[in-house]
């Protein structure tokens, strides 16, 4: 019996992108974002994730 770890999910996500072109990866991510947003459903949580994501990666690029 194995306990499912965050690393396991991370690997599944990477496996899903393996062999895809950049365009295909973008399409996959977009569909995934929409599905996950629907699962989470709570607008405040969603906004929090969006702000956190922007802050993390966009601030990084500006440095």
């Amino acid at each position: 019996m194995t306990d499912h770890t965050p690393d396991d999910w991370y690997e599944e996500l990477m496996d899903a992108h393996r062999g895809l072109s950049d365009a295909q990866s973008q399409r996959l991510d977009a569909a995934l974002v929409l599905l996950l947003a629907n699962q989470i459903a709570d607008p405040r949580a969603l906004r929090g994730c969006l702000q956190a994501a922007s802050a993390a990666v966009l601030r990084q690029e500006r440095q």
Partner: protein, 538 residues
């Protein structure tokens, strides 16, 4: 004078030009002059006439419609229909127009989304939508204004200048018989995108423009199609671009085809191009007559203020947006209805002129909301950048198997009445919420509805209370208000309670434009008096 239709051809009425009295010498100032006999201007004229306020209506041409026989604004929303019911043209709309509530959205040949507006249990007397060519609606409004008697229509009259003064506005007008000046205590500018006065008064506006272009085709054909709104995000018969289809009166169908931005508008809107698309769509030649065709584009604009002293702005003159969802014409009609009762109060001395600022505040709120919602559709149909395109395609791909994604497919969010969330006229809970035209028993015991209740009130507020005490009735002498015992309401009580949070032991204040001003506990007459002072800005 009517619109007539025979042998597949429309003939629009021509209204008579009369030499204006001002050409023989100066006249007194008119209480209200309306510039533009379109949907907003005509609704304002009828609403004011019904409230006993005479108006002069100036229009550049002498007929209905804006660009000849174009069907133009065709989807009349429930709120607009409720207004038309109060003004007295709803029966005409029902007789001539086409009711619908089901909409379907296709991607290619596959249906990916559907809705039924009738399933939204609203219990209004009016249906979600009636489709009708704009020139019919305008002709009905002109007919009704003429019946009401106090509207002075001046055709072939072009306003070239407006000079606002302290006590009145001077309009310079050109006519076939010569130029003259007209004085008005109040001007309602409903001149559409022409905006003569707004430019002159230097009222700023916010705006954006899209390169999205479409063409209208009004086509008469006898195909047996369901009376539903059909939209295609991507239609094979339009080179993978979007298409709308609506039923109109007289077996005319309104088609809107999204154009290739690089195509010449003239060619793409040409009758041959339309016939070719129809041939593609039906797989064969369809016997049809093309009533009108033409290209259009859109921009979003909104004046920073809908009031400048004695000049008020309504309809496209005040705000424009893309037509997705039918929010343009409907918001113009609703602007006029929001304004009319307030202006009538001010003219009658029942309210301070600052009440008119609430017109601008409330209807600007509505305009910005409509623009925002219509822009979302614009972006879905014509993505502005790679991210929008990728997400739109993902939404379409998911819609095939996932119900949640279907409602994200955005080919137009149909017009809904706005809630005036931050209005100064909200005097209690539920304030600023639109009230549907619910059936109820009228004060005289007849079966009626909210529209008829407000018509009975003749432009006054209606306050529904538990008990009509003498103290409350005394307020009727001092404020434009009618006190009505709510026990008479019957089943509407529960519906209003659900709509506006109206609790037992509370009173509710209804506005002439079928909006709730607020509900609060019935206890203290002073509290109601305070609310009435807020509503009259006194």
């Amino acid at each position: 004078m009517q619109v007539s239709f025979s042998n597949g051809r429309y003939t629009l009425p021509e209204y008579p030009f009369r030499v204006p009295p001002e050409l023989s010498g100066p006249q007194r100032a008119h209480p209200v002059v309306i510039v533009g006999a379109g949907l907003a201007g005509l609704t304002a004229a009828c609403a004011l006439a019904q409230l006993g306020v005479p108006a002069v209506v100036l229009d550049e041409d002498n007929t209905v419609g804006v660009r000849g026989l174009s069907s133009r604004g065709v989807c009349y929303a429930r709120k607009s229909l409720e207004i038309f019911d109060r003004l007295g043209i709803y029966r005409r709309m029902l007789g001539k127009g086409v009711r619908w509530s089901v909409g379907r959205t296709f991607d290619g040949d596959e249906q990916i989304y559907e809705f039924d507006l009738a399933s939204d249990s609203n219990a209004s007397r009016q249906p979600p939508f009636i489709n009708l060519q704009q020139f019919y609606v305008e002709a009905f409004l002109i007919q009704r204004a003429t019946e009401l008697g106090s509207v002075d229509f001046r055709w072939c009259s072009k306003v070239v200048k407006g000079e606002p003064g302290a006590s009145c506005v001077k309009l310079s007008i050109e006519t076939p018989a010569g130029a003259y000046s007209l004085l008005a205590d109040w001007v309602i500018d409903c001149s559409g995108v022409g905006r003569v006065l707004a430019e002159a008064l230097c009222i700023g506006r916010l705006g954006t423009r899209s390169d999205d272009r479409w063409c209208i085709a009004d086509v008469l054909f006898d195909e047996d199609l369901p009376v539903e709104r059909h939209t295609w995000v991507s239609a094979k018969f339009n080179d993978g671009r979007a298409v709308w289809r609506h039923a109109l009166a007289d077996k005319v169908w309104r088609l809107d085809y999204q154009l290739d931005p690089n195509a010449t508008a003239g060619d793409a809107a040409h009758e041959d191009a339309i016939r070719e698309r129809l041939r593609c769509q039906f797989g064969r030649d369809v016997a049809c007559r093309i009533v009108w065709t033409g290209a259009w584009s859109y921009r979003s604009e909104c004046l920073k203020n809908f009031r400048q002293g004695r000049v008020l702005f309504a309809g496209d003159c005040a705000h424009t947006m893309s037509p997705f969802g039918g929010r343009g014409g409907n918001s113009g009609i609703q602007d006029a209805d929001n304004l009319a009762w307030k202006l009538a109060w001010v003219i009658a001395g029942k309210a301070d002129a600052s009440l008119l600022d609430t017109y601008s505040e409330e209807r600007r709120t509505a305009a910005l909301e409509n623009i925002r919602i219509a822009e979302r559709t614009g972006r879905f149909l014509r993505p502005e950048n790679a991210a929008q395109r990728i997400y739109r395609d993902a939404t379409l791909a998911l819609a095939r198997h996932h119900p949640f994604a279907r409602s994200l497919v955005n080919t137009g969010r149909m017009s809904q009445p706005s809630t005036y969330r931050d209005s100064r006229l909200n005097v209690g809970r539920g304030g600023g919420r639109s009230i549907p035209n619910l059936p109820l028993t009228l004060p005289d015991g007849r079966e009626g509805d909210v529209v008829q209740l407000m018509k009975w009130a003749q432009g006054d507020l209606v306050v529904l209370v538990d008990a009509e005490s003498a103290d409350l009735i005394a307020l009727e002498a001092r404020f434009p208000v009618r006190i009505v015992a709510s026990a008479r309401l019957g089943s509407a009580r529960a519906a209003l309670a659900a709509n506006c949070g109206w609790q037992a032991g509370h009173l509710i204040i209804l506005r002439p434009d079928l909006y709730c001003a607020g509900t609060f506990e019935c206890g203290d007459v002073a509290e109601l008096e305070h609310a009435l002072r807020s509503l009259t800005c006194t």
